[in-house]
Structures are given as structure tokens and as C-alpha cells.
């Protein structure tokens, strides 16, 4: 049980980490409209409407020893932990990306322009204006992706294969328990997952609240 739980946490952390590497950059690049942005964003968000088994199926084809990746020399990721990380990351991408995108969209262009007129170059603007204003959104998006990956079932089952001791994670483990009519163990594991999920979502929401009350809107034309 402990081993399975740790593997779940590791999977969630690795896929959320992967998203943290590429997601904010994607969101930043998509901040302004360009021809084809709708197409690109739709692709990024498609996993939200895709049955996990479909995503898993295509990934398996991509990762298989005679798949297109193998042909260009990439070792097969089918039924491996790294393969599951990629699958979980892709599946959580819409959640993380949406939060990242909102963080960058809420960034008031006037602030960046005014910072320029105050003599701040690109680096100072990024460090002293953009980063302090977007990090809460990035943290909450990453936490959400982490929580989502922790509960993922379909993709990890397809890509990982639910191999005990290798690619079995909490969700697939519980599935096995229920199938084997081991309800006591299933109860225990499920309760742990429930608590974890709730704590994560609560943490994310609390962070968002604190962030909102700390910065608020910059449009203060009202008087008191």
C-alpha cells in the first residue's frame, strides 16, 4: 500500500513538474492573439474531452517498440513509469494550462507599459512585476495538475499496464482490490485518497483566495 501510494505521489509530482516546465511558457506565448491561437489552444485543451483510454491508446501506439518514436531512436516508454508521467502530464495539461493562462491574462498591460516608462528593462519587468503577480496562479495550476494526476486512472492503466511493483499506482491498485472483493483494504486506500484529494483542492482554493485579497484589482478609480 505504502509503496503504491508513494508511486502515485511520485507520478503526480513528476507530471506536475513537467507541466511547470512547459506550461507557463505556453501560456505566456498565448497571452496575445495571433493567427492560429484558437487552434493551438484547442489542441492543448482537447484532453479534457477525450476518454482517457483514447489518449492512452494513442500514446501506446506512439511509445510501442515499433512505434514512430522508436524508429527515431527513442527507447520505448510503453508500460514504464516515465511513459506514465508523460501520459498523466498530457492528461492534466488542460487544467494546468487554463490556470496559467488566467494568471497571465489577468496581468494588466498598463502595469508592464508603465514599468517600461519607469526605466525597467525586460529582466526587471519579469522579476519585479510579472513574476510576483503570476506566481500564485502558476502554483495553483500546478497543484491542480498534481491533484488530477494523483487520481488519474485510464491513461496510467493503458500506458502503464498496472504492473504490481512497477507501474501500479493507487487508482489502479484500488481497482484490483475491488475486483478481488477485498473491500476492507479498498476502503482504507480509498479513504486516504479522498483525504488527499480534498486537502489538495482546499489548499489550491485557499491560495487563490489569499492571492486575490493580496493584490486585488489595479483599477481604483472609485473614491471612498
Amino acid at each position: 500500500m505504502i509503496e503504491v501510494l508513494l508511486r502515485s505521489l511520485l507520478l503526480a509530482a513528476a507530471s506536475a513538474g513537467l507541466l511547470l516546465l512547459v506550461g507557463p511558457l505556453l501560456a505566456y506565448l498565448n497571452r496575445r492573439a495571433y493567427p492560429g491561437r484558437t487552434l493551438v489552444e484547442s489542441l492543448l485543451l482537447t484532453p479534457i474531452a477525450l476518454p482517457p483510454t483514447v489518449l492512452g491508446f494513442y500514446l501506446l501506439l506512439l511509445f510501442s517498440p515499433d512505434g514512430p518514436l522508436s524508429r527515431i531512436g527513442v527507447p520505448s516508454l510503453a508500460f514504464t513509469f516515465p511513459g506514465m508521467v508523460v501520459g498523466a502530464a498530457l492528461f492534466s495539461l488542460p487544467f494546468a494550462y487554463t490556470a496559467y493562462r488566467e494568471a497571465f491574462r489577468a496581468l494588466d498591460e498598463d502595469l508592464l507599459e508603465t514599468a517600461r516608462t519607469l526605466g525597467a528593462g525586460r529582466l526587471r519587468r519579469a522579476r519585479e512585476v510579472v513574476f510576483p503577480l503570476v506566481w500564485p496562479g502558476i502554483v495553483s495550476g500546478t497543484l491542480l495538475a498534481f491533484a488530477h494526476a494523483l487520481g488519474e486512472f485510464g491513461v496510467v492503466l493503458m500506458v502503464g499496464g498496472n504492473i504490481p511493483g512497477k507501474t501500479q499506482v493507487a487508482s489502479t491498485y484500488i481497482y484490483d482490490l475491488v475486483e478481488g472483493l477485498e473491500f476492507t483494504a479498498a476502503h482504507r486506500a480509498s479513504a486516504i485518497m479522498l483525504a488527499l484529494a480534498f486537502a489538495l483542492v482546499y489548499l489550491t482554493r485557499a491560495l487563490e483566495e489569499r492571492w486575490r485579497s493580496a493584490t486585488g484589482s489595479t483599477d481604483r478609480s472609485r473614491s471612498r
Binding site: D110, L111, A115, T117, L118, A120, T218, R220, S221
Partner: protein
Amino acid sequence: MEIRYRLHRPLPLAVAFRVEGFTALLGPSGAGKTTLLKALAGLLPAEGTPYAGLPPEKRPIGYLPQNAALFPHLTAWQNVAFALPQLRGADRERVARAWLHRFGLAHRAEHRPRELSGGEVRRVALARALARNPELLLLDEPTAGLDRPNRDQVLRAILYAVEEHGVRALVATHDLELAQAANRLAVLDEGRLLQSGPSEEVHQNPISLRVARLLGFENLIPGRVVGYRSPYVEVATRAGVLRALGNPMPQGTPAVLAVRPEEVLIVREDRPLHPRDAANTIAGVIRRLRRMGPVVEAEFEGPIPLLLRLPRHVQDRLELRPGEPRRVVLKPRYLQLFSEDEAASFSSD
């Protein structure tokens, strides 16, 4: 300082005018005021002098967008300190706080923008812009959405910056009272400069009906030129023949007389009128009175409708009442005469 700017996007705009002291940039929404300020700040590509070609970071300007753009994650003094990157640590904080002190905001130094009033936000932003020691301040509608006390504070802060720090301020606004405090006026419409010059001169001599309307000449009386008796042009209107100062014009020229609501005067029947003004009286009835703070607005109905605005103490003396017959006088020196093409453009909209 001479400003000559030309740009094509987001709207075509070409202007040349002087900015000295506090210069108000007046114009209706969409005239290009914000566009011009952004171009001067280097935030929009433009050709011209001064500064063209320099990035915003290198221009000796201070720019305040309409919402003042204080950094919401920084306190008031940290916002000002943002403009002082050359200083370090305690020095930086001391100088930033000194700037707030000059604008009467020392006690607000630790507050975040969302805890400040609209007027305070603008003043912190002014302090921040001045801390960089600019030669030109660019302020976009600095009093928009402010109540009277806040607006007056912002106006005093602008005057302080101009008078004590010798900075020039170009202030985009459609707040006529703010514009009246300016040393110079530049009137912009549809990307073109309609008129610019010392404030008094523009106020007393708007060169076109369009400028006059932007400057608060709300009463417009159409008519036809019928004669000239030096120094007055005589104009036949529905209220009879009125006299206005102006150059001779051919008889029959369509014309418009414009007068500010503040400069339509109620005749005191107990006092003799100057003969010069006597010809310009109109009889009618006071229809509606509206109290607007220290000002009373009155609607006058006669052969032509007129809007009047008088200080409350004048109303207290006159005791105007709705329904009461009264005479008003349009003194020739307060009447602006516009002719032909302007009259045509007046009737077309």
C-alpha cells in the same frame, strides 16, 4: 517644448504644438488623446520630435495611464522606490518616502494600492513618475472618476509638480475645470489639432464652433448676418437681432452664436443696462432649476431655449423661481460668432 508627432496606428494622428508648464490636451473620447500620450511615452511607434526612436525606458518622461497603474503587490513607498533603481537599501526607501511626504502621503506609505482612495492612487503614481526626474509628465485623464475632494487634491498635486519641480505636464482630459487651471491648451479631435495656445486665449477665442463646443459653449444660436455696426456684427436670430464682436461679414451669411451657460446673465430689472448690452436682451420664462452643489442650473425658455449656470450666492440674491418671467442678457463680449462652413457643420449634426 515643441512637440511634433505623426503616427498611423491605431489611428492616424499628426500634431504640432507647444507644451509649457501645465498644458491640457482637450478632446472628445476617441480624439486620439491616449494614443498621443502613449506615442510620446514610446509605447506606440511614431515619428517626430522629441524622443522618437528612443524606447520608453530611455525617455525622460513620466507616464500615468488612466488607472494610474500602481503595482498592486507593492506598498505605496515600494511603488515609488521602483522608479529609483540607482539607489540601494535604506537610501532608496528614504528617498521614496520623502517623495510621498511631498505629496502629503507620508502616512499612507505602508498601504497597498487597493487600500488607497482614487485620489491617493493618482498622487502616489505622480510621486513615482516624478521620482525619475522626468522633463515631461504625460497624464491620461488623471481626474476621471474622482469625487470633488479627490479631484482637487490631484489637481493641486499636478500644479505642485509643475511649479515646484519645473516639470512640464501634458494632461489629457475632458474635465473642463481641470483644463481651466492649465497654462496652455491643445484641442485635439479625430487625430488633428484644432487649436492650441495659452489657455486664456483659447478660452476667449475658440477658432471654430467645434472647439467652442469642446470648451463648454453649450448654448448655440443659429442665425444670419444682417449688418455690421463697428465693432459689432448684427445677427438675426429667432430672438431678434443680436450683436456680437467680430469682423464684417457679407449680409445673409449663415452664422452661429455660441455662449457659455455661465455667461448668460439674468437682467436685474432694478438696475440700468449698459446701452451696449441692451440690444442683446431676451424675454422668456425660467422653466426648471437644478441645484448642483455650489452651482444652480436654470433652463430658460423664450424665443430660443438657453441653459444658464449661476453660482448659488447669485441665485440667493435673484431668487429665481420656475415659471417666473425674466429677461436674460447675452453680452456681446461673451458671444462667439462662427460663420458659414461651421454653421453648415452645425446643422449637419
